[in-house]
């Protein structure tokens, strides 16, 4: 009985060509590898997504909660035709992007979650995702929404997305935007980077293990803790808070 029910509950994924990994040099001079993550690697991602559920700023909490659910659904076979790409810097997880195929001609972008900030890692990851939809899967267009102002600037404005407001997006039912093949081709020279093949040593390092993000987003520092307490004019609260966030021993 249980086996039969699982057959009903578990979606049958459509065949999707694998994403060919690529790499690019970041502003820091570090090489970032973009590669597809297998289903059995998902638990490695989940443990790094979970802490972001508690980061309110820049809508990390909302995005992390949804990504967590999507990845878990993918891992437990409760999500149809999803793929997951990871950006890794020397093995370290720098970003996750995911999406799914709605039909052979239509893609749907789910999320872009950057763990490293200030290096355009998220933007590179999003570009790789669009490249996968348009070039590899052969979709004519990809439905997209943004859940943060940063996302809106990065996707809707930079790619000049078209409105598809008559189509509710799977994320929250909000009006969709679309990246068409034509728009992607226009953006290709300025927004889409990456080199192939990935040198074996770089790819091996990425495949070896998904290492924890070295500087993930954290809850906002409260630099005014001392002011708020009014009884801590030495700013000890601030210093202790910073040490705690940096994982330093607290000798104060």
């Amino acid at each position: 009985m249980s086996v039969d029910l699982e057959k009903i509950l578990r979606p049958v994924d459509s065949p999707m060509v694998p994403y060919e990994p690529k790499y690019m040099l970041l502003a820091s001079g570090e090489a970032a590898v973009v590669r597809q993550v297998d289903r059995d690697e998902i638990p490695d991602l989940l443990k790094y997504v979970e802490p972001l559920l508690h980061v309110e700023r820049d809508y990390y909490d909302v995005v992390a909660a949804r990504v967590y659910a999507e990845l878990l659904g993918h891992y437990r076979h409760r999500f149809q035709d999803q793929y997951v790409l990871a950006v890794q810097i020397d093995g370290e997880l720098a970003a996750i992007v995911n999406g799914r195929q709605v039909s052979p001609k239509l893609g749907l972008s789910l999320h872009t979650l950057a763990f490293r900030r200030g290096l355009r890692v998220g933007a590179h990851a999003f570009a790789a995702k669009m490249e996968y939809h348009i070039d590899a899967l052969g979709h004519d267009e990809v439905l997209i929404v943004a859940e943060s102002p940063i996302g809106f600037r990065r996707w809707m404005i930079e790619y000049k997305l078209e409105k598809r407001f008559d189509i509710p997006h799977e994320l929250g039912g909000v009006p969709s935007w679309a990246l068409t093949r034509e728009l992607f081709n226009r953006a290709r020279s300025s927004l889409v980077v990456g080199r192939r093949p990935v040198p074996p040593e770089l790819l091996d390092r990425a495949m070896e293990a998904i290492l924890p993000p070295s500087d993930p987003p954290t809850p906002a520092l409260d630099p005014l803790a001392a002011t708020r307490s009014m009884y801590d004019p030495t700013a000890t609260a601030l210093v202790i808070q910073r040490w705690e966030m940096e994982g330093r021993p607290n000798d104060a």
């Binding site: 690019m24 040099l25 970041l26 502003a27 820091s28 001079g29 570090e30 700023r57 900030r117 200030g118 290096l119 355009r120 933007a123 590179h124 102002p149 600037r153 300025s190 927004l191 889409v192 980077v193 990456g194 080199r195 906002a220 520092l221 630099p223 005014l224 001392a226 002011t227 708020r228 004019p233 030495t234 700013a235 910073r242």
Partner: protein
């Protein structure tokens, strides 16, 4: 005129701060008061550019003096564009030097991240000429881009020189725990690699993303005191020895030579003359690098290098830590961030930190004389200061 000393300094992290502007100013002020060891002041000046427009708050100094329980001290806000901080220090200097006050708190704060980047850029652009510039869509990045293009044509500055300033200052910020940008960048990553144009796109050609300072929230504060009070407090004796302020035409196109930053030259010259110093006496400097080109241009106008040779000195490493005249070793506006009203005071905060020998990994060895250049408008209102450590 009495001598004026910096007895206390304070600063907040420069980043995005989710607190009322008055609290940002108050926090930095409280650190400065604690550092100086004073609980009462005669006068408070608070520098800020955009509170009324961006944060819907006016009379900031009244809010700060009350939140710090410093009443009934006198209090006034000073708005002078990006030179607000330097102007507030000048006002505090005058108050102590004249004998009117013995202890003056000078704070600066800005909370620009309350609005989006388009609104923040527009807010800063309100300093341009309303009829000759602003209505045509001129922004500060646009001004800086035109200035840069002229500078390139005239003096041979290249995009590589600009990127070198960006790399130097942003990476210097890694040694400053209060700085906004804590991310290393390399010339390869922002200029030389096939991905560089995407990593570092043009914002206003020839200026690219990493040529501009970030939009930051933050506050900084100083406590200025008389000589008698300074000796009583027992803090390191850091004296403000020179103060210069100068202006230029509001509209940049009215200048006979737009690459000539006359107000910088005049303000620096006056400060050095007052202090009895020359530019070559300076051990460490803070220049107003809101855009990378400005560090190069200002390093020439203040007299560190001949006109048109700032970029050559940069190439030789003369402006880096350990060089002939280290500039912006705490990250400058580029790395530390640029909460506009706080910047002039943050520059002084860095110099006092250096002269006290508290710079840690970014300390300039044996620094005794420091210099700041707080550049307002597009060079139409400039405040320069010299500081000396007295042993």
């Amino acid at each position: 005129m009495r001598d004026v000393y910096v007895a206390g300094i304070g600063i907040t992290t420069f980043t995005r701060l989710e607190y009322p502007l008055s609290e940002i100013a108050s926090y930095a002020s409280m650190m400065a008061l604690k550092d100086a060891g004073v609980t009462e002041v005669d006068q408070v000046y608070v520098a800020n550019m955009g509170a009324a427009r961006v944060n819907h708050q006016t009379a900031l100094a009244s809010a700060v003096v009350d939140s710090l329980s410093l009443t009934p001290a006198g209090a006034a806000a000073i708005e002078n564009g990006p030179a607000s901080g330097g102007s507030a220090i000048k006002a505090g200097f005058q108050a102590v030097a004249s004998g009117m006050d013995d202890v003056v708190l000078v704070a600066g704060a800005e909370r620009m991240r309350e609005v989006n980047n388009l609104e923040a850029t527009d807010f800063v652009a309100t300093l341009t000429h309303p009829i000759a510039e602003y209505i045509y869509g001129v922004t500060l990045p646009a001004h800086a881009a035109m200035f840069t293009r002229l500078y390139m044509d005239k003096y041979g500055v290249t995009e590589r020189h600009l990127a070198m300033v960006g790399v130097k200052n942003q990476n210097a910020a890694l040694n400053n725990v209060w700085a906004h940008l804590q991310q290393e960048i390399t010339l390869e990553g922002i200029l030389d690699s096939p991905e560089a144009m995407t990593n570092n796109p043009y914002v206003a050609e020839p200026l690219r993303f990493f040529d501009a300072c970030p939009v930051s929230d933050g506050g900084a504060a100083l406590v200025l005191v008389s000589e008698e009070k300074a000796k009583e407090l027992g803090r390191p004796l850091i004296r403000i020895t020179g103060v210069g302020q100068a202006t230029d035409t509001h509209a940049v196109h009215e200048r006979s030579e737009p690459t000539d930053l006359m107000a910088v030259r005049k303000a620096a010259g006056d400060a050095f003359a007052m202090a009895g110093l020359t530019p070559q006496d300076v051990d460490v400097a803070e220049l107003h690098d809101a855009f990378t080109i400005l560090e190069i241009a200002e390093s020439e106008e203040v007299g560190f290098f001949p006109k048109g040779e700032g970029h050559i000195a940069l190439e030789k490493g003369e402006t880096a830590l350990g060089g002939k005249i280290p500039i912006n070793v705490g990250g400058g506006l580029k790395g530390r961030g640029h909460p506009v009203g706080a910047t002039g005071i943050a520059q002084a905060w860095e110099i006092v930190t250096q002269l006290r020998g508290d710079g840690g990994a970014r300390q300039v060895q044996d620094a005794k004389i420091g210099f700041t250049c707080n550049f307002g408008g597009f060079g139409n209102n400039v405040v320069c200061l010299t500081f000396e450590r007295e042993d």
